[in-house]
């Protein structure tokens, strides 16, 4: 028997090539399948949000309709595909940009030509015109039904300011209180430290939603029911254990040496905390403040429950009451525009804080 070496087998090189090609095909098919699945799974979400945006710019709106949505999709999807294909085809950077420019320009022109008449920005008039209430159909309808006067239904800015008040104040309180106590728990020796840590863990996992009934009664006893302060404090209370927990993770990660050197240099612990340690946990501070702010800005259930007399409008309540009149009489364009206005800050903040929020789940919860 003669040993067969690779060279002696006819076509062995191409045999390897075959295998490589096969593996490549398999990998590519796998990727295509995964992309296909993810695109299919994401279509409902993208379509729904895109629909909201198109509605907010639609001019003719007696009913919720998809008249702008489908043509927009038929125009935008091919142009997105074209951009993607061109990104693969183009050889140089300049070529790529020129191609994309042409595609975008063509899209805009076609879009404007086909759908220009259907679109306007008038739905966003609430941003500038404080007295749009009288002409707002949904508010007039709500007025008939609920017995509000049109002036009792506030402008969007009143609601936005109330929401901002709650969000900003609760953010300030939560960040301050949480960083103080997280630092103490993380770094100080004191009696009952271990049981304090345990109760923190318990609190952070406790479902606060179950306390809504007693919370209502507590607010009523202390006279804060139906006030913005009451809602704000409830949000602070329910957000605090989580925030302390996260901040403790960040404080734990700060090296002891820098604090020691500060103390050797004559700083007290309090000074060391403010001047040396705090700057090291800025990412954690950003993460929890973004979290608390968005929580306050978006909160619905506590506001709906604790602001019983409709004296204080917040964004969520405003949104809710403008759509309550569910069948006829809603100015859907306006409602969509308000919704876009309401969603926007949250999305922007998330986008801005994404990397800090990711650090939080890595550095905090696992710690």
């Amino acid at each position: 028997m003669v040993a067969i070496t690779a060279q002696e087998v006819p076509g062995s090189q191409s045999h390897w090539d075959d295998l490589a090609a096969k593996a490549r095909t398999r990998r590519r098919t796998g990727l295509v399948l995964i992309y296909g699945f993810l695109i299919a799974a994401s279509i409902p979400i993208i379509t729904a949000y895109f629909w909201l945006v198109t509605l907010s710019f639609s001019a003719r709106l007696d009913d919720i309709n998809t008249e702008v949505l489908w043509p927009s999709i038929f125009i935008l999807v091919p142009s997105l595909v074209a951009i993607w294909v061109w990104a693969m085809v183009a050889r140089t950077r300049t070529q790529a940009f020129i191609g994309w420019g042409i595609i975008c320009l063509a899209t805009v022109v076609i879009y404007w030509w086909l759908l220009g008449d259907e679109l306007h920005t008038n739905n966003y008039r609430f941003l500038f015109n404080r007295d749009f209430n009288a002409e707002n159909k949904s508010i007039v309808a709500a007025e008939d039904r609920l017995g509000f006067s049109a002036t009792a239904f506030p402008s969007v800015w009143t609601a936005a300011l109330n929401s901002l008040f709650i969000a900003i104040l609760s953010t300030i309180i939560v960040t301050t209180v949480a960083s103080l106590s997280a630092y103490y728990i993380s770094r100080f020796q004191f009696p009952l430290r271990v049981s304090m840590l345990r109760s923190l863990l318990v609190l952070h996992a406790f479902p606060s939603m179950t306390l809504i009934i007693p919370m209502f009664l507590v607010l009523w006893y202390i006279g804060l029911l139906d006030t913005l302060w009451g809602v704000m404090l409830v949000l602070v209370g329910f957000e605090l254990p989580f925030a302390i927990f996260i901040m403790k993770g960040f404080f734990d990660a700060v090296p002891w040496e820098i604090e020691m050197s500060a103390i050797v240099d004559g700083a007290t612990r309090r000074q060391a905390f403010v001047r040396v340690v705090l700057p090291h946990v800025v990412h954690g501070l950003i993460a929890i403040s973004v979290f608390t702010f968005i929580r306050g800005w978006e909160e619905y259930i506590f506001m709906f429950t604790f602001l019983i007399n409709n004296n204080h409008w917040t964004m969520s309540l405003f949104m809710f009451f403008t759509i309550q009149e569910n069948s006829l009489g809603i100015d859907f364009g306006l409602v969509s525009a308000v919704a876009v206005f309401y969603v926007f800050p949250a999305f922007v903040l998330y986008a801005f804080a994404q990397k800090y929020l990711l650090q939080m789940s890595v550095g905090g919860v696992k710690g």
């Binding site: 254990p241 734990d252 612990r269």
Partner: protein, 317 residues
């Protein structure tokens, strides 16, 4: 001799000063948090236990103490069995289809893609979680409303040839609340599992590939074993949060049509705030609060206590 007594006195004084400083630090750093926690966790729990034994009603006045509320919950409330059954279906359905399974699928598929593409799809699936609940539910209501111009009806009528527009809110409300909660719940599992998949040492995948393992056997023998613990965590945590939360259901269906989507947490809420039976609501809420506390206590098991409890290395106050 005098010098020694003086020194002892000085030491005692500085020791005393240190004690004062220590106490002051405790108050400054822990005080605010302690007050807030006492006011918003301890007090409500106590109030709830107290109220559960009273007949507190719409007038917010207490006239008697009794066990009537518990009596009613265990024997007298004919609606409760149906509500509990529905809750079980809703929680199990959402969990099984979305929070665990779909979350896992999303995590596995997005981590198989290049980082940017995976991140893009994850962001899309985070949109429902990021948007305010009211807006999210507005989108649902509009998408499924009974007219033929709603998103769902446009699709099923034009693509699948359904003759009459569907009215999902009336005909399939339970499916709808499972979907609405599931679209949000899936992203929780997705995020936790994505970081778990990322945490698997890369050389394991290389070794498996070198040994000739295909995609599915890699998932089966390398990824899944590493995800067992996170999956348990997600299942337990999400069960609890599904049982206690009712925000999206309240917004989407309001518990209706009739009582068809009134899950236990929403039933409590409606009893308390719509029928004004605060006492009864508080008594039933105890059945959520107690499991909540038990779960929260078991949270120790999920955490690396050793690492959390590292001893302070500076004794100065």
């Amino acid at each position: 001799m005098a010098a020694i007594t003086e020194e002892v006195a000085v030491r005692a004084r500085s020791h005393g000063a240190m004690r004062t400083r220590q106490r002051l630090n405790l108050v400054i750093f822990m005080g605010p948090a302690a007050i807030i926690v006492a006011l918003f966790f301890a007090l409500p729990v106590l109030v709830d236990i107290f109220i559960a034994f009273t007949d507190l009603g719409r007038t917010l006045q207490i006239s008697e103490f009794s066990l009537k509320n518990f009596d009613r919950a265990f024997t007298g409330d004919s609606r409760l069995p149906k509500v509990l059954f529905l809750t079980a279906i809703y929680v199990f359905g959402t969990l099984a289809f979305f929070n665990v399974t779909f979350g896992l699928i999303l995590a596995l598929t997005t981590t198989a893609l290049p980082d940017k593409a995976g991140g893009f799809f994850r962001t899309i699936w985070l949109l429902p979680r990021m948007s305010p609940s009211v807006v999210y539910i507005v989108l649902w209501t509009w998408s499924v409303h009974s007219g033929d111009s709603s998103l769902v009806n446009q699709v099923v009528m034009n693509l699948f040839g359904v003759e009459k527009p569907l009215d999902l809110l009336l005909d399939a409300p339970v499916v709808l609340i499972i979907l609405a909660n599931g679209f949000i719940g899936a992203s929780f599992g997705m995020i936790i599992l994505t970081s778990a998949v990322r945490g698997i040492p890369e050389h394991l995948f290389f070794a498996a590939k070198a040994d000739g393992a295909g995609y599915f056997s890699i998932v089966r023998h390398i990824t899944m074993p590493a995800l067992r613990w996170p999956l348990t965590y997600i299942a337990i945590w999400q069960t609890l949060s599904l049982v206690v939360s009712f925000e999206y259901i309240l917004l989407l269906t309001g518990g209706g049509p009739f009582q068809d989507t009134t899950v236990f947490a929403l039933y409590i809420y409606r009893r308390a705030f719509q029928s004004g039976q605060y006492g009864y609501g508080a008594a039933m809420a105890l059945f959520l609060i107690i499991p909540g506390i038990i779960f929260a206590l078991s949270a120790w098991r999920f955490t690396n206590m050793q690492k959390m409890m590292q001893e302070p290395r500076i004794e100065v106050h």
